[in-house]
């Protein structure tokens, strides 16, 4: 080969190098994040060859970045990573935060001649801890763990212990120390009782520290044939290697094929402590774990669609819906009936409150409720002034029947509590101290018994009735005890009621008095009722026959009583026995007109009769004579024999003179020993004179008085009527008197006619 050829070769090589370099610099760079589950430098040292391998095989520059979980999450969120390798729990969390293309491959870990794509948790303590032998000894112990999002460093153990019966998150103090190495150191240093780490850590650390296993004690160790590590829990798939969605699909394919192409003997695999990558494992078990423990991303209650719930629990849902409907329905019904009840109650309360009759509720002897009428009855202003007081507070000390109000009420109330209904009359005292009669009804309120039972007290104002009764009683006693006979008849005059006086005056027994006419004047009969009907009353006096005794004179007044429509419905009659009164009246009449000694008319009656006789004489055209008679020598008889003898003489003389005169003539004693007579129908003066002579003779006859025969005579003067002059009775008597004086003057014992003095 010539030097020129070498030169050309060199140039060609240089150009090729340059081109290659240019191409290389144009290659895209991928960032491969690896979770630092152990100290950063260890991870970087281990995985750097893998990054290089991928760079070579996939034809892209792969840059390794070792991150803790928080940084990795941030980097993923910022799309700063293209691929990452982390533990399954952390992967689930990232996957829930953003959509991922999924797992590209699952790591297969190497351990000596074995390999496994499973991992688990190790629970260990320092070898010398005798008190910690099994999982049952763990509660209360302090625990060191790399972090919550470590599958083999926390979650696997937590589930195992949950199955053993306790939750370390509640019953233990767990310190999170970020890496597995620190957990081991922490336990060995005695800072924590127990350590949680993932499988393979102890074996890896034992490479640098061969007697590590003599210083630790693994708890709950599982005997799993073929599994290369000590393990305390069940197993889960190893770490996933994940591609982010933004990575070119072609690149993903190339990376994936490079990953699967890794042979166990490759430097990248040996350095990373793996034997390669297997197709993606099923991470369902990890999801189940996270769900069971409720750790992120399953720390939220799952969002379950209603329709799912409905499908799953159709029968339950139906039952619940029916129950809820029933409940709702019954609640509505209850509310409605409650409303109705309330309205009804209000109406009832209103009814009781406005009930015109006073009503009160009594409990334990005091008012608990009163209505308006009761307040009004007692003349108070509000219910408040009544409630809380007893009935006795509104009663006078004693009731009209003489019982003490309080005692009487106690008796009543105790009987009512026994279930009886009590009714009585009661006097209450109002606020203005006036008294009011009430008809009181006490009744137990149904359904409640015992001392605390409620008693309904209903009052009815009977004051007016009581007063009417009093008036009636008074009227009845007047009727019964009156001395006047009182009777009441129907509209036809038949007696329907009569008092005792009536029976006494009529002399009729009760049976005869009732249903008959009362005593009536004979001439008018029951016509008196017609008069009473027409004029409103009738009154009169009449003589009436007594059943057994003397006839009586009755003074009767009958009044008509009108009914509602103005028609006469009854007659009320009243009469009194005036027989005695009539007798008295007659006696008085006699005393006024007759001389008590001789029984002859006196001067008054004489004048009266003279008037009548003069009128009659004038009418008949006949004559009459007025005769004046004076006894002679009467005074000596009187003086000699006493007044009684004088009176006897006068009686005898008067009787003799009376006997001489005719019946129709009048003889009167004018006083002392002076008499006057009217002789009517004088036909002839001669017959008159013979009459006068007989008079004189009769007087002159001796009279036997006081055992003595005495003799008197009469001087008589007379005059006639009519005369020429018109004279009155007194003038006539004066003329006769003058004539008598003439006779006296002429020697007594003679009769002289008046003659007018000659002028």
């Amino acid at each position: 080969m010539s030097a020129r050829q070498y030169f050309f070769l060199l140039v060609a090589l240089f150009i090729t190098e340059c081109v290659t370099a240019t191409v290389a610099s144009a290659r895209e760079t991928l960032t491969f994040g690896v979770f630092a589950y152990r100290p950063d430098h260890i991870i970087r040292e281990r995985y750097e060859p893998l990054a290089q391998y991928l760079s070579e095989e996939a034809g892209v520059d792969v840059e390794l970045e070792v991150l803790d979980q928080a940084d990795m999450s941030r980097a993923v969120a910022a799309n700063r990573l293209d691929f990452f390798l982390t533990n399954p729990s952390h992967f689930l969390q990232i996957r829930s935060e953003r959509s991922l293309t999924g797992v590209l491959a699952t790591l297969v870990r190497r351990s000596g001649n074995h390999s496994t794509s499973s991992l688990g948790g190790v629970i260990f303590t320092a070898a010398g801890r005798e008190t910690i032998q099994s999982l049952e000894d763990l509660p209360g112990k302090s625990i060191a763990s790399p972090g919550v999002h470590f599958l083999g460093g926390f979650q696997a153990q937590t589930l195992e212990l949950l199955d053993a019966g306790f939750d370390v998150r509640r019953s233990n103090r767990v310190r999170f120390v970020d890496t597995h190495d620190r957990v081991v150191r922490s336990v060995l240093a005695g800072n924590a009782d127990v350590g949680f780490i993932r499988t393979s850590i102890l074996e890896e650390m034992a490479e640098a520290d061969p007697d590590l296993f003599t210083r630790v004690k693994v708890l709950n160790q599982q005997a799993l044939a073929g599994f290369p590590y000590v393990v305390s829990t069940r197993l889960y798939p190893e770490w996933p290697l994940v591609a982010l969605p933004h990575v070119n699909e072609r690149v993903v394919r190339r990376v994936a094929s490079a990953l699967f192409a890794i042979e166990p003997d490759d430097r990248a695999a040996v350095s990373a402590g793996i034997t390669g990558f297997s197709p993606p494992a099923d991470y369902q078990s990890v999801e189940y774990l996270a769900r069971t423990l409720r750790v992120p991303p399953y720390d939220q209650m799952p969002q379950v669609a209603w329709i799912d719930v409905l499908n799953q629990y159709r029968a339950w849902a139906f039952t619940i819906v029916v129950l809820v409907l029933l409940l709702f329905g019954s609640a509505l019904w209850l509310a409605k009936s409650k409303r109705q009840l309330a309205a009804q109650q209000k109406r009832l309360k209103q009814l009781i409150q406005d009930w015109p009759q006073p009503a009160l509720l009594i409990q334990n002897g005091i008012f608990v409720n009163t209505n308006r009428a009761a307040v009004d009855l007692l003349k108070y202003t509000s219910n408040a002034s009544l409630s809380g007081k007893s009935l006795e507070a509104f009663s006078p000390e004693t009731q009209p029947d003489g019982q003490i109000s309080q005692q009487k009420m106690e008796q009543r109330l105790s009987r009512v509590r026994g279930g009886q209904v009590e009714q009585c009359e009661w006097v209450l005292r109002r606020s203005d101290q006036s008294e009011v009669w009430v008809d009181m009804t006490l009744a137990p309120v149904q359904g409640e018994g015992g001392a605390g039972s409620v008693i309904l007290c209903s009052l009815y104002d009977i004051t007016r009735r009581k007063r009417a009764e009093q008036r009636q009683r008074l009227a009845a006693s007047v009727f019964d005890h009156s001395r006047e006979a009182i009777f009441i008849t129907d509209s036809h005059g038949m007696v329907i009621e009569a008092n005792d006086a009536y029976l006494e005056i009529t002399g009729w027994p009760q049976s005869r008095a009732i249903g008959r006419l009362p005593p009536l004047p004979v001439e008018e009969g029951s016509g008196v009722f017609a008069s009473a009907r027409a004029q409103g009353f009738w009154s009169g006096e009449f003589r009436c026959k007594h059943l057994v005794g003397e006839p009586r004179v009755l003074a009767v007044t009958i009044s008509s009583v009108c009914g509602d429509h103005g028609e006469v419905s009854h007659f009320v009659g009243m009469f009194s026995d005036i027989s005695r009164l009539k007798e008295q009246e007659q006696k008085l009449t006699i005393m006024a007109h007759y001389d008590a000694l001789t029984g002859l008319p006196n001067r008054v009656l004489f004048s009266d009769r003279l008037q009548q006789a003069m009128a009659l004489t004038r009418r008949q055209g006949s004559k009459l004579a007025v005769v004046y008679i004076d006894l002679d020598e009467f005074k000596p008889v009187n003086d000699a024999f006493g007044h009684e003898a004088g009176d006897q003489l006068l009686i005898e003389v008067a009787a003799r003179m009376r006997a001489v005169l005719r019946e129709e003539d009048t003889l009167a004693r004018l006083g002392g020993d002076e008499f006057a007579a009217i002789v009517t129908n004088v036909q002839q003066e001669a017959s008159l004179e013979s009459l006068l002579a007989r008079l004189r003779n009769q007087v002159a006859e001796p009279v036997w008085v006081a055992c003595h025969s005495v003799e008197v005579s009469a001087s008589i003067g007379y005059t006639l009527f009519p005369q020429t002059e018109n004279l009155d009775g007194d003038q006539l008597l004066r003329q006769a008197d003058q004539a008598m004086y003439e006779a006296k003057h002429r020697g007594r014992n003679r009769y002289i006619r008046f003659s007018a003095p000659c002028a």
Partner: protein
């Protein structure tokens, strides 16, 4: 369905409070079980404490133990294949299928010497098989597919657990077996020629209880089924964990467990209800397996799959 059952259960539990003493006096349900990936959920449930005291697991080495002890009355229930169930039924013990644990989708297989390349080559070969087990059924199916008669092969009746030794001694040319023995044999150099994935939804592994237990102790049956589904959920959801636990219990490598899991279908609750429905797949298969004269005794329907989820 599930929810209604939950409701019914909740209500029933409310009523059951009064009868608690009566329940507690009952003997625990003795349930026979042997190593098989489909039955692992019950072991997981036991290990995690999800199996109530009303059920006790009685481990045996193979299904034969369970069958014998069921017939002797020692067990109240067992995990069996469907054909074993019918075999027990036909021998007079009335059983009720309460759950389908798994459906074989390649778990049962015919492994052969590598020199045997086709089913036709089986003629005259010595084949290890557990005749009175599911393997017997599979063998019949294989012969049917191969167009061979029973006499065309030499049957070596051996429990599956003894197949590796028989192979190591060179006593057999082929074996009808299942996991995890199948994996062990394969590591010893045999190859898989035919498996149950060639006859899908035919080999059922079921949980059965006696009729008497179903009638007298339904609570325990419910607990058993509930524990199975709880374990199944862990097996499926937390496979990373479960494989190690199954591996350490069976004493095999976790990889073998993963392989075994790939050869079975593990029906969940709703799939179970589908399988166990009247005229469902289980009943259809059972009728095909069952001699017609004995069908009256075969009663599948009451499977009380009532599980708190």
């Amino acid at each position: 369905m599930q929810r209604r059952d939950f409701l019914a259960l909740s209500i029933a539990s409310g009523f059951a409070v009064a009868g608690v003493t009566g329940c507690s006096q009952q003997q625990p349900l003795a349930f026979g079980i042997h190593p098989w990936i489909g039955y692992e959920p019950l072991y997981l449930a036991r290990d995690f404490g999800w199996l109530p005291e009303s059920v006790t697991l009685k481990s045996g080495t193979s299904s034969k133990d369970s069958v014998d002890r069921l017939l002797s009355g020692e067990l109240d229930g067992a995990a069996l294949t469907l054909d074993e169930t019918i075999r027990v039924l036909s021998r007079g013990r009335e059983l009720v299928v309460v759950a389908v644990a798994d459906v074989s989708a390649g778990a049962d297989m015919l492994v052969v010497r590598p020199s045997i390349t086709g089913l036709a080559d089986l003629r005259g070969q010595r084949i290890a098989v557990e005749v009175n087990g599911v393997s017997g059924i599979l063998l019949l199916k294989i012969l049917e597919v191969a167009g061979l008669a029973r006499d065309d092969i030499v049957t070596v009746d051996l429990p599956v657990s003894q197949h590796p030794q028989a192979w190591a001694r060179g006593d057999v040319d082929a074996a009808v077996c299942y996991e995890p023995t199948a994996s062990a044999l394969q590591r010893a150099g045999v190859v898989r020629l035919f498996d149950s994935s060639d006859m899908p939804e035919t080999i059922f592994d079921v949980l059965v209880v006696t009729r008497a237990t179903a009638d007298t102790n339904p609570e325990a049956v419910r607990d058993l089924v509930g524990a199975h589904f709880a374990g199944l959920q862990h097996l499926v959801r937390s496979q990373h964990d479960a494989v190690y636990r199954v591996a350490s219990r069976q004493g095999v490598d976790p990889v073998d467990v993963r392989n075994a899991l790939a050869t079975v279908m593990l029906p969940d609750l709703s799939a179970n209800q589908r399988y166990l429905a009247a005229f469902g797949r289980v009943e259809t298969v059972a009728r095909a397996l069952f001699p017609p004269d004995a069908q009256r005794e075969h009663d599948q329907q009451p499977a009380p799959v009532k599980t708190p989820v």
